[in-house]
Amino acid sequence: MELLQETLGSRLRRSLAQAWAFVRSAVSAPEAQAQGLALDAGRALDEWGTSILRLALSYLHSREDAEDILQDTLIRYLTAKPVLQSREHEKAWLLRVAANLCKNRIDYNRVRQADELKEELLGEEREDLAFVWEAVAQLPEAQRAAIHLFYHEGYQTAEIARILGRREATVRSDLKRGRERLKAILKEAYDFDPIQ
């Protein structure tokens, strides 16, 4: 009888300890999840933040607005908690969200007029770069985004279509027209390669 009581007592103590640990973890799970998400957001920002910032800048031509878009994109990442299959998928997801946020901002006329990057280039007496930047700013935003994703990020037209939520034929048309307009504006030769 004493042996039985001792066995049951130790088992009960172990069970209660496990149950209490379970209770604590059940209550603290949301906080642990939040910490994990914060780490993930930091990693995503380190990996893709520059790409997001540059795409937003190509749309909005305002560093301040682009930084707002970067933060808004990260907020979406934290709240949506997407399940993403690969690094490439993650990057495309983030760029897609950023592009949509940029388009919304343009639609609602919440774009600042100051172009800090242009002022910076002029301040450094890089008129050649400022001229190019100003020429790109004259393109419709759809063409700007397509040119940025094709020539700077190196995406193919099919991938650009998925990121921008557009038809591939439209993207090809945007690239062609964007190049033609830039050439007309700048009247210089660039080392363009044919659109692939």
Binding site: L8, R11, L12, S15, L16, Q18, A19, A21, F22, V23, S25, A26, A29, A41, G42, L45, D46, G49, T50, L53, R54, L57, S58, R63, E67, L70, Q71, L74, I75, L78, T79, A80, K81, P82, V83, W93, R96, N100, L117, L121, D128, L129, V132, W133, V136, P140, A142, Y151, H152, G154, L164, G165, R166, R167, A169, T170, S173, D174, D191, D193
Partner: protein, 213 residues
Amino acid sequence: MTLTRYNEIMDRVKVTPELRERVLTGAAQAAEAAAGAQKRRGAWRPWVLAVACLALVLLGSLTLPRLGRSPETAAPTEVSEVQGGWDAVEYDTIRALTEAAGFPVEEVPALRDAAGKSYLLIGGELAEITYTVSGNRYDYRVSPGSGDNSGDYNDYPTERTVELEGVSVTFKGEGGACRLALWEANGFACSLACDNGVPQQDLEALVRSVIRP
């Protein structure tokens, strides 16, 4: 494959440590605020679950040889859904697309027998049927609500609005090539885009076949 000066400009643009800190802090605060209401509503749930499990453990420990749950297999987590706004899922049939979309999607009758067809649901709420006919590609889109859902942001020099079967339809294109038709019907936004462009009357006929099947 570079636009060299443009890339030189972009290479100056980076996320600085200061910007990183500011963005992470701001994003975390905003996300926490957004989750705050949900947290207040559901704050009692983990405690109720924990108390119920504790009661079960106490009851079971008196009779079962092995008891308890490992802390590592803690509270169930929500199943995350793939989100992202523009993820596209392809379906084999119009019926499957309709079921997934949750709203009726019909074929373009005049294109129903096209050799190449695909059925996509984009972002969970935009249904797209693509037809390939004689080297020309048509994208027919339907989504709840209103507005332009074509995803075509080109500025077309030619734009005309006509009444077809009592529905106002806007046609866009350039020269003699009409590339896009936009209309709304029964609470849905609709668009029919054509890659290579066709005479407006041809696109009108296709739209008419949709409006009045």
